[in-house]
């Protein structure tokens, strides 16, 4: 099981990093989503992998238990990354509608700066 979890985290991370390095905003968003999935699975594994164990101590007998804290951390991380992805989609949409293309890099600063008519729209 360790192999499956570890390789899935690795595959998700690799795909996420590859997509983040693309030039299009949509691919970058997908990449960040994949990275956040990878980190969620990774956080789960940080409490050691356990199957069919309650996330609680038993006062009556000495049972094995799974660590409940990473589950709480993952829950927090999922909520935050979900919200952040929503914000990112909206910002990317705004940038796309303003500039008519979804490239993620900025124009050459110097060229833009030389044209006196092109003021930073304050």
């Amino acid at each position: 099981m360790e192999f499956v979890v570890a390789s899935s985290v690795g595959a998700l991370t690799a795909a996420g990093v590859y997509l983040i390095l693309r030039l299009r905003a949509f691919a970058v968003i997908l990449g960040l989503a994949l990275l956040s999935y990878a980190v969620n699975v990774f956080l789960f594994a940080s409490g050691r992998l356990a199957i069919n164990m309650p996330p609680i101590l038993s006062p009556y007998e000495d049972l094995a238990y799974s660590d409940p804290l990473p589950q709480a951390l993952v829950l927090t991380a999922i909520v935050i990354s979900f919200g952040m992805t929503a914000v990112l989609v909206m910002v990317a949409l705004g940038a796309y509608l303003e500039s008519e293309d979804d490239r993620i890099d900025l124009e050459d600063e110097a060229e833009e700066g030389d044209a006196p008519g092109e003021v930073s729209k304050l």
Binding site: A25, L43, P68, T76, M84, L88, E98
Partner: protein
Amino acid sequence: MNHWIIAPVILPALLAPIIGFVMRHDIPLARVASLAGTGALLAIAIGLFLSAGGDPQVYYLGDWPAPFGIVLVLDKLSALMVLLTAVLAMIVLVHAVATGWDARGWHFHALFQFQLMGVIGAFLTGDVFNLFVFFEILLIASYGLMIHSGGRKRMRAGLQYVVINLAGSTLFLFALGVIYAATGTLNMADLAQRIPELPEGEAALVRVAAILLLVVFGLKAALFPVHFWLPATYSSAPAPVAALFAIMTKVGAYAIIRVHSLAFGPDVAATGGMISDWLFPAAIITIAVGAFGVLGARRLMPLIAFSVVGSMGALMVAVSAFEPAAMTAALYYLVHSTFAAAALFLLADLVVSRRESDVLTLRPATVQNGLFAALFFAAAIGMAGMPPLSGFLGKLMVLDAMRAPGQMPWAWAAILIGSLMTIVGFARAGSTLFWKPTALSGEPVPDDGADPAEPAPEQARAGAAEIAPTMLSIAALALVTGFAGPLSGYMSDTSAQVFDRAGYVSAVLDGGPVKQAAEKDKKAEGAEPSQDAPADEPADGEDH
């Protein structure tokens, strides 16, 4: 338990939704509420600052004992940072209201308050995962502030800013997962206690986590090689927001000071001097990047943004030594560079909005050219580190602290040459902006592109309320200079407390309310081991 410790987090947290939902169509009302809230925050911050003189004070959220519940810790360092945030927030807010920036888009005041909540929470928390949560709060508010009032360039720079910070947040989570897997705790005091005791086999995991955290905090603090987002972001953001962001880079610096000196300091066997070894060259290169950026900038806003990068480099050079004298210098320089950056951005807003462009080419002088020139001169010598302002004293203290033979040539050369290049850059920008236009005496400029026959539009003179925030930032620089003696004395106490790890650990872990009550019970009725033993077992848990 001092309940005021959580007040600066709760106040903006309650105020922001009220402003956002109830007052969103009523700008005057939102302004009054936001100003009143920030004023109250300033009062609370002053009160906390005055009460933080002794040992660290700990606030146990929900009365949970220390390694299990979340704690807020108020010590000299966090009180200082909270006060700095509140003062800066007041200055920036007055500027934003006076210049009407807050009315050029939606929800400025609500986002502003959320931003304050995140920044102050990050300064106060004593738990690494909680630090992550407050980072996310301040970031999500900063995304909104960054793209406030929109525009094509700003939206695209904003998108980059969001992406780079989301990638940073993912790294932060990976680091936290590694730390929890290795140590079983995320409480900073508990980490400081456990990491030195870890067996040799776990040390590699701790080193990975320490470096990951350094990258994440370095991203916030704009350290080389993860500084590249800052110039584009700060120069595209609305100027008051850029001035507020002066505290955001300091959040990264604070996190490095707090977490890395507590848990991964030079005396910890697992990490050793590794953090210094990486941080020092990164900081040196950051100074170089900032200096070359200032020299090469062709527009005013990127020029100021690069000078911020350079000042973060000088700050992190001092931090990288991880010893009290250098930390004293770093903290003094931190306060100075926050106000210097804020003064420059606020002044740039006043000038650029009248010049209608921040490109450093000749344009007709603005109506209050002399005043703006004087203010720019003061702020620029503050930022560049020339006497008589506090930048000079701060850099002098940093130089004085960096006398270790391996570091001195690099640090001295980088800071001195970097300062010289910054002076040249600012002098050139200042002469283009303020001096040469006086020779034009209103004549149209050939490369302006404007129609010479067309009369220049009437420029609105900046009123007292618009200039006051810039003046206040420069006055703060003067105060930091004038009271350099008492202030550096306080900083020296602060840095002594930062490196007093035993004091921090015992304040957090031994003072728990439930623990005290339990001890009282034990004394009263005698211990019952059969009941207590299983409850003590999961010592690696913590509630979030």
